[in-house]
Symmetry: C2
Subunit: 386 residues, 2 copies
């Protein structure tokens, strides 16, 4: 696959900003205040792994009109200057007396009238990435201006991807496809799951992932009980099902899908369970067209994996995907979001095998005008064998 | 190096909990409410990469007496049951009507008297990982109980590491040492920085890192201008200085140090600048004894790298290290924390070379009863050459 270009043209960031400003006008918001990595990157393109450090807060403001304004630690200025925005205000962080709050108050006071409202992401899947004491200080200093919810403006915009974003997710998925295909060359019975995890991450990097922020998995006889635990040093044994689920990143965009491998020929009931999962993903993919509801996808999969109609407790059956491993919406019966072209989703049904063991399968799709397009190469009914 | 055991004995978590409870009693706190990955892991041992997903909030409560209580999404129950705590309450997340807030209110109401105060981390380096609307709902539902600051209790406890924690950080540093030593075998002029980044992450995994959450670096003629940007596709050229700075993880603990490589023999002024950085780290390490202040370490390094006395703006000269890439405290002139045995620190001086270019060097040490111990193998004055 040809590698798409890195970054985005400036027009893409302008379009995102103007779209946010149109929704802000509807909601009567004089500014959006952004504090988290994906929010800030969405409007500015600021891409760095430095967010791994919790020390410094970072702020970007989307005003009612005009371009975003960055209020950031000076260590980030050199990188932010390379982004499209030009109003960049910095302080020498960490500052134990005032770690950016004063500069943020000054900047917001400049652009928000005293009667104005400033929107902050405050709904599910969000948090405010700044110390709570500073948030309270900010609120007091800005009064009578109000800090209010952002009416999920950024979440809603991010849910529908541009072609440039889809190309990056598709590229990330292609890297994972190739890494998954190479697993049987490198893994065999007797090797520990922790070795398999390390080796798989190397395969992702060999296939040109930028990095591998997420790898979960499990291996146990005829299925597994848990999909979020770290790897153990227990060796793979004949009859195990090995599951590897990766969120690797290319140019800041994730793929998120898994593959199951039978160590030796799978037992007939395991093979049948796996085939059922494949049927479930196709049942959802076939109806994932504009106008369908997220809840329709849930029921299409659940009918296949739980013919009794039961709903597994831990379970959503997929979610949005993009700048983060998991994004809005969740594929649950209560989500009635209408599908539109450009939504990227994971389809992630799970099925109970025996003795409380489960199998989970996952694919990545994008909603198109007609049929949905698979971004991961869809897995065959037959299980992969090691 | 022998690999230390994974995990911790239950007594370590009990000790952390009792230490927090002693400080809570001093502050009049009836409970601590924990919402972030390191806080929750510190008291429970709950270790998973699943935090990469922003969807679900997770809560742990440290009551005034007794063991911590988990209030978590059911998808985490299987892993939390394997930790030492026994009171685990779950809900089926994501729940669009009430994503855990109700269960959290019920639990806190049970253990906190109506006149009681509940402490939340609210100072520098912290944030509250739950939607702001839910935090406001929680605050209203718990009244007249109050949500207040936690008096940095968890931050203070985490600042001083146990021997078991130090062994994990030391082991992570050993992995990075070996990966850095192997760079010249794999890197040469003409290869792109993005290739070098991928290859270096593979070396870390080959040397048995669990994963590589952080890699920053740069390569440019005679120094670099920025240490947080992602890798470009620009090939390494003769005369470049390549810097790689990794935070790799073993069993949930980070190392954090860098190494500089000259592509070809370094120019004399570059070699001299590098030697000065080594002198600076040793100047700080030599005085890093119990009773010294963090600000003393700053001045010891700054005297060497900035003989004029100037302080670089972007700049702290190191920080705490452990469950996170960067932890409290910051090595800045304003920090007067008294050193005690068990503090793990990075020493990270930077020096201006020419034309706005800088060099940064970093080592990891632990404060001991006598001399500080290097956890990274200290770099020689001579620069590494590719």
């Amino acid at each position: 696959m040809t590698q798409p270009p890195r970054g985005f043209p400036e027009t893409e960031f302008q379009k995102r900003t103007r779209a946010a400003q149109a929704l802000m006008a509807e909601q009567g918001l004089a500014a959006l205040l952004l504090t988290t990595e994906p929010e800030i990157r969405y409007y500015t393109g600021f891409l760095t792994r430095f967010w791994e450090s919790p020390t410094r807060p970072w702020f970007v403001i989307v005003p009612a009109t005009g371009d975003p304004i960055a209020v950031i630690p000076s260590i980030g200025a050199h990188l932010m200057v390379q982004c499209w925005i030009t109003d960049i205000r910095t302080w020498a962080a960490p500052d134990y007396e005032d770690d950016g709050t004063g500069l943020l108050v000054d900047t917001l006071s400049e652009i928000v009238p005293v009667s104005g409202a400033i929107g902050l992401a405050d709904q599910m899947e969000s948090h405010v990435r700044m110390p709570l004491a500073d948030l309270r200080r900010l609120e007091a200093a800005l009064a009578p201006r109000r800090l209010v919810g952002d009416a999920t403006i950024t979440r809603r915009l991010r849910m529908v991807k541009s072609e440039a974003e889809i190309a990056k997710i598709h590229h990330a998925a292609g890297i994972a496809n190739r890494a998954f295909d190479r697993v049987p060359e490198h893994v065999s019975a007797g090797l520990s799951l922790s070795y398999v995890f390390r080796r798989f991450q190397m395969l992702c990097l060999e296939e040109k992932a930028d990095w591998v922020p997420y790898l979960a998995g499990a291996a146990d006889a005829g299925g597994y009980a848990d999909v979020i635990s770290p790897a153990t040093d227990i060796p793979l044994a004949m009859g195990d099902v090995l599951m590897l689920d990766t969120g690797l990143v290319w140019d800041g965009y994730f793929c998120d899908f898994d593959r199951n491998y039978s160590v030796g020929t799978p037992a007939p009931h395991v093979a049948a369970a796996h085939a059922r999962l494949i049927d479930a993903t196709h049942a959802a993919a076939e109806i994932a067209k504009p106008g369908a509801l997220i809840s329709d996808l849930f029921h299409a999969m659940n009918r296949v994996v739980n013919p009794s109609g039961d709903v597994m407790e831990a379970g959503r059956l997929g979610h949005g995907l993009g700048m983060q491993l998991t994004e809005w919406p969740s594929i649950i019966p209560q989500d009635h979001t209408v599908l539109v072209p450009g939504m990227v989703l994971t389809l992630e049904p799970s099925v109970t095998v025996r003795d409380g063991k489960i199998l989970v399968h996952e694919e990545n799709i994008v909603v198109r005008e007609g049929e949905a397009e698979f971004l991961s190469v869809p897995q065959a009914h037959e299980m992969r064998v090691i």
